[in-house]
């Protein structure tokens, strides 16, 4: 349980890190600390507080939060290695560690190379992967997951829900990558009005930035549609499954908030708090979709040795995790 709480803390810290990263971009502070890994020649952790001024406040805070998250993921990976019986979960910990290290290096490179778009976009996109990894770890170490959500009977194995949820997850991620591209190519206000586009339903003129911005708006419509289909499936067929119903309701709330924030980002000419909230809400839509998708697939995962699922009275079948579990127990 303690491991799960720690994984939750790590996942929540990743969300904070993404918000801080959003603030760096939204305030144009990415190059306010020109060196890396040092800060103006100081060792990062000894950079004087009185120098946290202007853009440095955002950039340096982002670096320190990133270091903290990196440390938390390091601890999490080793904790999983020591205590987690499932091999794939232990591996997930080290994948998350590798991802966050890569993420840190990308962050450093993008500063040293003056924010080249491909690196910055990769940095933004990998951040979402790190968030997904920490969220997945938090989910699969939770008591509910271990118990196969069996309080209300066996976990459903709804192929249609699994397919549509997976497609929605992919769509949300693509939409976030398009958003990151829009953000880092400075196309956020390429279409300056909302809901119209230059006063029309479709832009009456085009350039690459307008095309990227347009793609993000079309992507928002596609994501919303897919989410409605996915959550509709839950509402129609799995209303009695709280593990599916709760993330579905949350998704509807989040996507409504996200569209509102997207509109306000344009209408406020990219006010930096609104803009950054749009980034972190997008990430929240992604991981909530991920949670729903994983839970929809729960029946396809194996059992966890020593879990409380046995008291739920569900018919448990031995899953592929047992080999890993045995190895973990030996460790």
């Amino acid at each position: 349980m303690l491991l799960h709480l720690f994984a939750l803390l790590t996942a929540a810290s990743t969300a904070v890190l993404i918000f801080a990263g959003g603030l760096v971009t939204s305030t144009g502070s990415g190059l306010s600390v020109p060196d890396w890994p040092n800060s103006y020649g100081w060792f990062m952790f000894t950079f004087p507080l009185e120098n946290w001024v202007g853009g440095i406040f955002y950039e340096h805070s982002h670096r320190l939060i990133a270091s903290t998250v990196g440390f938390l993921i390091l601890v999490l990976a080793f904790w999983l290695w020591r205590a987690e019986p499932r091999r794939w979960v232990r591996r997930l910990g080290f994948i998350a560690l590798g991802a966050v290290i890569t993420q840190g290096v990308l962050g450093g490179i993008t500063v040293l190379w003056y924010l080249p778009d491909p690196i910055s976009i990769a940095h933004a996109s990998l951040a979402e992967i790190v968030f997904c990894l920490t969220t997945t770890i938090a989910l699969v170490t939770s008591p509910g997951w271990k118990a196969r959500y069996a309080a209300r009977g066996p976990a459903p194995d709804d192929r249609r829900l699994q397919r549509v949820a997976l497609a929605t997850l992919a769509m949300v991620y693509v939409q976030i990558v398009v958003g990151a591209t829009m953000r880092h190519t400075d196309a956020g206000l390429a279409i300056p009005d909302f809901p119209w586009m230059f006063g029309h339903l479709v832009p009456d003129h085009w350039d690459p930035k307008i095309a990227i911005h347009f793609a993000h708006r079309v992507g928002a419509l596609c994501v919303t549609t897919m989410l409605l289909v996915t959550t509709g499936q839950v509402f129609a067929r799995h209303r009695n499954r709280p593990e599916l119903l709760r993330p579905s309701i949350l998704l509807l709330v989040l996507v409504t908030l996200q569209i509102t924030l997207g509109a306000l980002t344009v209408l406020s000419h990219k006010e930096y708090i609104i803009n950054s909230l749009h980034v972190v809400t997008g990430a929240s839509v992604l991981v909530t979709t991920l949670v729903l998708t994983l839970r929809a697939h729960r029946a396809r995962f194996g059992d966890v040795l020593g879990s409380t699922s046995r008291v739920a009275g569900s018919p448990l079948t031995a899953g592929p995790d047992h080999a890993g579990a045995a190895a973990g127990a030996r460790a």
Binding site: T27, G28, S29, G30, L31, S32, V33, P34, D35, Y40, G41, W42, N51, V53, G54, G55, I56, F57, Y114
Partner: protein, 254 residues
């Protein structure tokens, strides 16, 4: 036999000469002797000048106070934006005026004296300036706070450096002509500056009176360009004879 010996001697001599020539070239590149100083090709006896005034027609946006609360050490309550500075008579300040075309292949000596770009009161001083390609720019931090100096040219090498202490200096050289190279401080968003990098000494920046003068021009026909960070560019063609001075006014409108 004698002819054969002569041909052999000639061949050996040729090879030796070629080797010497190649070797000489290698030595030259190895020592990389500096190019001979280029003498100013302008004859002072015939040099003329182009002068003028840059004005703004219309109602200019007034300079806005700069909010510097994000860094208490900036302490410059009087600071105002410098992008559009128009005097009561319409004189437009901070316009970079230079000879864009007409100098042909003339080359001019590059000043070795550094031009100082100061960061003072969390503003760049000067806001607009010019240098010759190859002329050093000394970047100085006169403030009690730290700055990063981020130049983002299109042709020259981009750089971003930090100056964390008051009195710090760094020198940078732009090697290629470029109109204009922007500087900005990412710590203090309001700080920006522009440098015009040209291949010759015929440039000026208008002061509060909007006036400029390009002195020492050889007789010829020139394209003169005036650049302003908000209003874009204006060009004019002018022909000057020996010892002649021509007036070339520019007018921008908002």
């Amino acid at each position: 036999m004698r002819i054969g010996s002569s041909i052999l001697a000639l061949f050996v001599a040729s090879v030796a000469l070629a080797a010497a020539a190649c070797g000489g070239g290698s030595d030259k590149s190895a020592t990389s002797a500096p190019a001979a100083p280029v003498t100013n090709p302008v004859d002072p006896a015939t040099a003329g000048s182009v002068a003028g005034k840059v004005t703004f027609m219309g109602t200019p946006p007034p300079p806005q106070p700069i909010k510097m609360s994000s860094d208490p050490r900036c302490n410059n309550p009087e600071a105002k934006t410098e992008a559009v500075m128009v005097a009561g008579d319409g004189s437009l300040q901070n316009v970079f005026v230079y000879v864009k075309d007409g100098l042909g292949n003339l080359k001019f000596p590059v000043p070795t004296t550094a031009l100082v770009l100061d960061q003072k009161g969390c503003q760049y001083r000067p806001h607009v300036f010019g240098v010759q390609a190859g002329q050093p720019i000394e970047i100085l931090n006169s403030d009690m706070t730290l700055h990063n100096i981020h130049a983002w040219p299109q042709t020259n090498q981009e750089f971003n450096m930090g100056q964390s202490l008051q009195g710090m200096k760094d020198t940078h050289v732009f090697t290629t002509p470029e109109i204009m190279v922007p500087f900005r401080c990412d710590v203090h968003k309001w700080m920006n500056s522009f440098v015009g990098v040209v291949a010759h000494p015929f440039f000026a920046v208008t002061g509060a009176d909007g006036a400029f003068e390009l002195k020492g021009l050889p007789p010829g026909t020139y394209t003169i360009e005036a650049w302003h960070e908000k209003f874009g560019t204006k060009t004019a063609s002018v022909t000057i004879g020996a010892k002649e001075s021509k007036d070339v006014p520019f007018t921008f409108s908002g």
